[in-house]
């Protein structure tokens, strides 16, 4: 993804940059220096890397626990970060997990997976990680629930707890129980791996959030959903971990916080995959050790593949993807979902979610085809993408937000009927007004939000995430406004 450094609305862009700069100043002081450099060199190609890195950092620095930390400006995004503890890979290597050409790095925002060498674009997808089944915790989604590997002995009371969950909706509760049991199971890999999972203080999932964090979201629906989830988790804990429960179960989650943490891990790090084991094909929820350290991106590098022959989950690079040393490996967590769903499940949000939606009311419509052509967005509505081949100059402006704008703004398209510029302008103005109204509806502005983020020294992760959520929302709306501006200018071509 790229931010175009366009000349006309320079103020906007610089403002944007400024925001980002401010934004990044908070995590690590060294970055600010580099960002200054970046601004000077804004017209230069290199800026694209940095700006793109800066751009993608909002995804990452939204403190999703798996995240790669903020990016260094110079050659690679990875060099800023420290390599992870060598034991991290070693415990997997010993159990025949393999990582090819990548390394795990750690930064202020968590872990990330980076390429350790350049990889050519091949026709074939290449494997970068393979994790055997024995290291994972897998439960099939449908009844009968089968565990791979089968670590729960039949007589264990946790088995009854798992059996009591609702088959349709409670997959995360089951997963959390299994995870807790695995932590308790002697000799289990998760006992070692759990040390590298984000702890309760580092986890951004909103199950562990307080009321004020929920209020900070400034989104009532999302807040209520999250409250509902918290309540559900707490209920489940109380039901199954009451005081009279046997010690075997009790020591798994002596406090509700531990259970909530486990549930948040289960929710945010679970992969839903249809796997085939032997002849059995089943949908399953899997907690995969090293693959869950991959961060999310809307333009991912990698995907998950199940190799049924030796029962390994492979993380493979998309075919045709050229990767330089230090690039981050990313996966698409959820396809086609809005920010609030991401927030709900994973605890992070992104300003460039191409599936974000703004509810416009009113009749103002914009001509779709011209809008798309202005920004060189091509593809079908499900898969809009920025077609960089069409643009002459390097367009940094079009990113996921613009694509989302293309999707969410009400548009009309009627065959060959051309647009009428004046009508279009009017429509654009109306839409922009609506957006401004929405922005005004928030209690704080973007600047204020960023100031808040900087100013709070020891914000809990959830607090930060909440603020960032609304910040991203505002950024998105602002971006829509900008896009409409540009569109307006470019209508007459």
């Amino acid at each position: 993804m790229s931010i175009s450094v366009l000349n006309p609305p320079a103020s906007c862009i610089l403002n944007h940059h400024h925001q980002l700069h401010k934004f990044n100043a908070s995590p690590l002081p060294p970055i600010s220096i580099s960002v200054c450099k970046c601004r000077i060199r804004s017209a230069v190609m290199v800026a694209d890397e940095t700006s793109s890195s800066l751009d993608s950092s909002p995804i990452s620095t939204s403190t999703f626990p798996l995240f790669h930390p903020s990016l260094p400006p110079e050659p690679t995004p990875a060099t800023q970060l420290e390599p992870a503890d060598p034991d991290f890979y070693k415990i997997g290597y010993v159990r025949s997990m393999r990582a090819y050409g990548i390394e795990f790095r750690e930064g202020p925002d968590g872990f990330g997976v980076y390429a350790s060498k350049d990889i050519e674009a091949l026709r074939r997808a290449r494997v970068i990680m393979e994790i055997p089944l024995e290291l994972m915790l897998t439960i099939s989604q449908k009844l009968p629930w089968m565990f791979f590997p089968d670590i729960i002995p039949v007589g264990h009371p946790i088995f009854d707890i798992i059996n009591s969950t609702n088959p349709e909706t409670d997959w995360d509760l089951r997963m959390a129980c299994l995870l807790l049991y695995a932590f308790d199971c002697k000799g289990n890999f998760w006992q070692l791996y759990g040390d590298f999972l984000p702890g309760p203080d580092e986890c951004t999932s909103f199950l562990l959030a307080t009321e004020e964090d929920l209020l900070e979201l400034q989104d009532k629906e999302l807040a209520s959903t999250l409250r509902e989830q918290q309540r559900r988790a707490l209920e489940f804990w109380e039901k199954n971990w009451h005081s009279a429960v046997p010690l075997k179960v009790k020591r798994l989650a002596p406090e509700p916080e531990r259970f909530m943490w486990a549930l948040s891990i289960a929710q945010s790090r679970c992969i839903d995959k249809q796997i085939r084991i032997g002849a059995l094909v089943q949908d399953s929820n899997m907690l995969v050790p090293y693959a869950d350290m991959l961060n999310h991106s809307f333009e991912p590098n990698c995907f998950f593949h199940w190799r049924f022959k030796d029962r390994m989950l492979e993380v493979m690079i998309n075919a045709g993807k050229k990767i330089k040393k230090g690039d981050e490996m990313t996966v698409d967590y959820m396809d086609g979902k809005m920010n609030n769903l991401f927030m709900q499940r994973y605890g992070f949000s992104s300003p460039v979610n191409p599936w974000d939606v703004i509810q416009f009311s009113g009749n103002a419509r914009v001509h779709l085809d011209s809008f798309l052509s202005v920004f060189n967005i091509s593809g079908l509505p499900e898969d809009y993408y920025h077609n960089s081949k069409l643009s002459y100059d390097d367009d940094r402006f079009v990113d996921g937000a613009v694509i989302a704008a293309a999707r969410t703004t009400p548009t009309w398209s009627d065959g060959d009927i051309p647009l009428i510029p004046s009508l279009e302008r009017k429509a654009v103005k109306e839409l922009q007004e609506e957006c401004q109204q929405m922005l005004a509806g928030f209690s704080t502005t973007v600047d204020q939000d960023q100031k808040i983020l900087e100013s709070i020294p020891e914000a809990t992760r959830t607090h930060e995430a909440a603020i960032k959520y609304r910040l991203h929302r505002k950024l998105f709306i602002e971006k829509v406004i900008q896009a409409l501006d540009i569109y307006q200018e470019r209508i007459l071509f």
């Binding site: 908070s26 060598p86 290597y93 040390d195 999972l197 030796d310 020891e458």
Partner: protein
């Protein structure tokens, strides 16, 4: 320079290095391989051929290997040197004239197929195996599920990272203390996460190190009960011997079993029951093997230690009193010039036949194994059988003995067959036979009493009356015999003839009387 492996330029431009196993190349190796390198100091002034080792291998350089072709004093001339390049064989495989097939040049196995030909899954396994092992030592310790996130680097956002660190630390400490107190209350089971170092001593130390030690730890030894007899031992099941008419038909026992039993009986070895079990037999076998090995090793060591003459003089009576130590042998050598082998030969010349046999151990007449001699007769017989000629006492025969072979199904004495058959009527006497035969033969003889003359008489028709009758009879007879379509027997013929003679019947009666119309066929003369 001796430590640098020589690198040679191959003609194809590749640079190859000689691999030296120990990494140290002696000068000798160097000179041998580089031929005249040291012998010819190449003067740096020769600009015509500049030998620079820094030129790229692709250029045709003067290669450092030259063979001196002629021995002449003019050095540095082109003629006297021949440049030699070390070339690889230009082929990897060739058509072998002996086998008529393609053979690899190196004589080793055929080349390993490349990745395209590997079976499926091999490439991923190879890749997994080739992946380098992670190096690096971690500073943290695993918490085994107690503190998730403990080994992550704790970053906190913003400038007050130190503050937060402190806070975090405090929190961590407080958490830790909380955990401790909680541990006391709710955690009943504490897992040991680190191996404890224990001091071992005594028996355990011996066992660990490998010092000789008894089988059972003397501290942990429980005194054994009185061993049970074979019948009481629950594992001592034996196949019931099938009904055999001789004891020789049962399976032969194992040598070791019998030996072991004999040893147990003489008290050399203690068994748990009265019959040795498989384990005990195995143990016995192992011990015996090891003892034998030890003895052999001792003998060998002794031979090495005291020298052959001293060693073998044990079996040479005549050499016993002589001094056989090494010094004596040496002195003898110095005195007489006979070396050790010659002395040995001399010694063996004095060895007797019996002594030789004893030494070689091949004489059956000489008692060898004392235990085998000490075994009881039946025990010996179990293993080696008895005397091959008279294996058991049963075979010794008393010439006057009357042996009674009667067994359980001993039957009545065989009766007189003749009488038996006669009684049952299967045989008759000759007289009776003749009687019977004669009865049969009289009928036949009656037939033969008929006067031949009369039988052969043919009626020629002299007596008309009688002749007609007889003629008619004969004729009709003949006719009857001739006309096969008219099949009549004599009786009927005779009857009809009689009827014809009477002439008293009416036509109807005649018709009724006749058999068929042919009866009325008159006698047509055939002559007509």
């Amino acid at each position: 320079m001796a430590s640098v492996s020589p690198s040679w330029y191959y003609q194809d431009g590749g640079l190859r290095r000689v691999v030296c196993a120990d990494g140290v190349i002696t000068n000798k190796f160097f000179t041998r391989n580089l031929k005249i390198q040291f012998g010819v100091p190449f003067p740096p002034s020769s600009s015509s051929k500049s030998r620079s080792y820094t030129t790229s291998p692709l250029k045709k350089t003067h290669l450092p290997l030259r063979i001196k072709c002629e021995k002449n004093d003019k050095e540095e001339e082109e003629d006297s040197y021949k440049d030699v390049t070390i070339e690889r064989a230009p082929y990897y495989s060739y058509m072998d004239s002996t086998s008529g097939q393609m053979e690899p040049a190196s004589g080793a196995r055929a080349s390993i197929p490349s990745e395209e030909y590997w079976p499926e899954g091999t490439s991923s396994r190879v890749r997994a195996a080739r992946a380098p092992e992670p190096s690096g030592v971690s500073t943290g310790k695993p918490s085994f599920g107690k503190n998730p996130g403990s080994r992550r680097k704790k970053y906190k956002s913003s400038a007050s990272a130190s503050q937060t660190n402190l806070v975090v630390n405090d929190q961590a400490e407080s958490e830790y203390s909380l955990d401790e107190s909680k541990n006391g209350a709710s955690e009943f089971v504490v897992y040991q996460t680190e191996p404890e170092e224990e001091e071992v001593a005594g028996y355990d130390l011996d066992k660990k190190i490998g010092n000789p030690h008894s089988f059972i730890d003397p501290k942990a030894k429980i005194p054994m009960d009185e061993p049970l007899t074979s019948e009481e031992l629950w594992w001592n099941w034996r196949k019931p011997e099938k009904e055999q008419w001789s004891r020789w038909q049962r399976r032969r026992p194992d040598v070791e079993t019998v030996f072991l039993k004999a040893m147990a009986e003489t008290g050399q070895v203690k068994l748990y029951g009265d019959q040795p079990t498989l384990t005990e037999c195995a143990l016995f076998r192992a011990r015996r093997h090891i003892y034998k090995e030890e003895r052999l090793q001792d003998e060998f060591d002794k031979l090495e230690e005291i020298g052959p003459i001293a060693y073998y003089s044990e079996w040479v009576e005549a050499w016993k009193e002589k001094d056989t130590s090494r010094e004596a042998v040496q002195r003898h050598f110095e005195e007489t010039g006979e070396d050790e082998n010659t002395q040995l030969l001399e010694m063996f010349m004095l060895q007797t036949d019996r002594e030789y046999r004893i030494m070689m151990g091949t004489d059956n007449r000489i008692r060898r194994d004392p235990l085998a001699m000490r075994m009881r007769e039946d025990q010996i017989k179990q293993i080696w059988g008895g005397d091959p000629v008279y294996p058991t006492v049963n075979y010794i025969q008393d010439p006057d003995e009357v042996i009674d072979y009667r067994g359980p199904d001993f039957h009545e004495p065989t009766p007189n067959m003749l009488d038996y058959l006669k009684e049952h009527g299967k045989i008759i006497t000759r007289d009776e036979l003749e009687k019977v035969l004669s009865k049969e033969k009289t009928e036949v003889l009656e037939m033969a009493d008929i006067d031949d003359a009369m039988a052969r008489a043919v009626d020629i028709g002299e007596n008309d009356d009688e002749g007609e009758e007889s003629e008619a009879e004969d004729d009709t007879n003949e006719k009857a015999t001739r006309n096969w379509s008219v099949v009549k027997n004599n009786a009927e013929l005779i009857k009809t003839k009689e009827k014809a003679k009477k002439d008293s019947m009416s036509l109807e009666e005649a018709v009724d009387d006749s058999e068929n119309l042919t009866d009325f066929l008159l006698d047509f003369e055939e002559d007509d």
